[in-house]
Symmetry: C2
Subunit: 279 residues, 2 copies
C-alpha cells in the first residue's frame, strides 16, 4: 500500500507533470528569409495581429519581397525592409487596420514575469513572445524587444502595408502599443546584425545607394519549403520549469559571480525565450 | 534705455549662454581598434575606472591586443576579446582591483534623467556615459548599455586583467555594479555588430575554431595615430539644450506619430548620446 502510494505520488509529481522545456513551433507560423548575410527564421503572431500576419503571408507566398532589400537600417534601432520605391504592384499590398494590442481573451496564456515593468503595468510572455499587459484596460500587446518584427507605417495608425522592420538595438519600447508587431526572429539574429547600416551622419537611416543595401534574396513560408530543407528548430516553452528557474535565478542573481545582487527586477526583453537546433 | 535692456537680455538669454550640442572628445581618452569588420573608436572613462583605463592603455601601447581576436561572442549579450590562451606575457597584464562604482564626488557632473529607473534609484549621464546613481550610499557607476566596454573577470571581484567585452544586445543591467566598466563605443558599433558570433547551440559562446573568430588587427591610442589619420569625431554634450529637448520629447512622445503616449519613463540605454563625423 505504501509502495503503491509512493508510485502514485511520483506519477503525480510536478517534475513528471511539468511542461517540456522545448517545443517545435508550428510550421504554419514560420517564415524563412534568405538574406545575403544568412538565413533568418521568423515566428509569426497571428494571435495578436491576424490581419498583418495574413497579409504578410500572402505577400511572401507571391514572392513580393524577393529581390527587395533592407533600405533603412539604423544601428541601435531597426532594420527596415521592403519596397522603398512603392512601385511594386500587388493585390495584397493593402492598407491594414492597426493591430497594436488586443483585449485579453479568457484563455490568454499571458505569463506574468515583471510587475510593474518600467514601461507597462505588467510584462511577461504570451505564446512565447515578450508581451505587456494592462489589467485596467484589459489590453495585452507584444513588446518591442531585440528581434521583434513589426509593420512600418506613416503617421496614421491604419497605414501599414508591406514594409516591415526588425528591432536590432536596445528595446524600442516607445513603439509598444504604437505599431503592429506581428512576429519575432527565432533564428539568425546574427544575420540581421550583419546587415549594412546607414552612415553615422545619415539621420533618416535610408541608404540611398541601392548597391550598398543588404538584399532580401527570398522570403518563403516554411510550409512551401521541402521538409528536408527546413531547420530543426525548437523554442523554449514559457511555462516550463527550466524557464521558471532561469527567471528566478535572474531575479536573485544568486551565483557568487554577482557581488551586487540587484533589486529583483527583470527586463523581459533581455530574458527572452531561447531557440536551439536539434539533430 | 529699453533697447539697451533688450540687448543685455539677449546676451544673457539661455540660448546664448547654452552649452554647445557637440564637443570633440579628448584624444587622451580615445582608442582606435582596427578589426577585420571595420574601425571602432572607444572613449575611455578614467573618471570611473582609472586603474583599468591605465592598464588598458599600457597594454594597447605595447601592442598586447594586436593579432588577438574576439573569441567569445554571444548574440544579444557581449563580444569578448583578448587572449583566450592566457599565454601572452606582459608586465602590464596584472590583476586589477575592482572599480565597479565610485563615491559621488562633490564636482560630479551626473545629470539625472530618470528616477526611479527600473534597476537603479537614478539613471542619467556622467561625462557623457550612461550612468546610475544611488543617493543613499552616494555611489555612482556606469551602466551596461549597448556599446559599454568593461573588463572581463572570473568569480572574484579583483580578478580582471586584460580581456574585455563590449555589450552588443539588450542592456545587461544585471552586470551594473558587478563589473568594471571603463569605456564606451563612440564610433563603429556596426563593425562590432558584424563580429562573428558563436553558434546558436554553443552556450559558453567561446568560438573554438580560431580561424572563425573575428580578428583584432590592432588597437592604438589616438595620441599614437597621426592627426590626419584620426577621424573627426564629435559627441553630444549631456548638458546641451538639444539633448534636453530630445529627452523631453522622448518623455512626452508628443509627435502625432505616437498614438499611445507612454508613461513618461525613459530608458537611458536607448537614449544614449550620439556621435557624428565633422568635415
Amino acid at each position: 500500500m505504501k509502495i503503491l502510494l509512493s508510485i502514485i505520488l511520483i506519477l503525480l509529481s510536478p517534475a513528471l507533470l511539468a511542461v517540456e522545456e522545448w517545443h517545435t513551433p508550428d510550421n504554419e507560423n514560420l517564415v524563412y528569409m534568405q538574406l545575403n548575410t544568412g538565413t533568418v527564421v521568423l515566428e509569426l503572431a497571428p494571435f495578436m495581429a491576424p490581419k498583418h500576419v495574413a497579409q504578410f503571408k500572402a505577400l511572401v507566398k507571391e514572392g513580393f519581397y524577393d529581390g527587395l532589400d533592407f533600405y533603412r537600417v539604423i544601428d541601435g534601432f531597426v532594420a527596415q525592409g521592403g519596397d522603398v520605391t512603392e512601385q511594386k504592384v500587388s493585390q495584397h499590398n493593402q492598407q491594414l487596420k492597426a493591430e497594436f494590442s488586443r483585449v485579453t481573451p479568457q484563455d490568454s496564456d499571458f505569463m506574468l514575469v515583471q510587475s510593474p515593468d518600467f514601461m507597462a503595468p505588467e510584462t511577461g510572455f504570451l505564446h512565447g513572445f515578450p508581451a505587456g499587459r494592462e489589467p485596467v484596460s484589459k489590453q495585452e500587446w507584444l513588446l518591442h524587444c531585440p528581434g521583434t518584427v513589426a509593420m512600418a507605417r506613416s503617421t496614421e495608425a491604419d497605414s501599414a502595408t508591406s514594409d516591415f522592420y526588425i528591432v536590432i538595438g536596445q528595446a524600442t519600447r516607445h513603439l509598444d502599443r504604437n505599431m503592429s508587431s506581428f512576429g519575432r526572429v527565432i533564428y539568425g539574429m546574427p544575420a540581421i546584425q550583419a546587415l549594412q547600416r546607414a552612415e553615422l551622419n545619415n539621420a533618416s537611416g535610408v541608404i540611398d545607394d541601392k548597391d550598398k543595401r543588404s538584399k532580401i534574396l527570398s522570403i518563403k513560408l516554411a510550409t512551401d519549403i521541402p521538409q528536408l530543407q527546413r531547420l530543426k528548430l525548437q523554442v523554449q516553452t514559457q511555462q516550463s520549469e527550466a524557464v521558471q528557474q532561469r527567471l528566478a535565478s535572474a531575479r536573485a542573481l544568486e551565483s557568487e559571480f554577482f557581488h551586487f545582487k540587484g533589486n529583483g527586477n527583470i527586463d523581459v526583453c533581455y530574458y527572452q525565450l531561447k531557440s536551439r537546433l536539434v539533430e
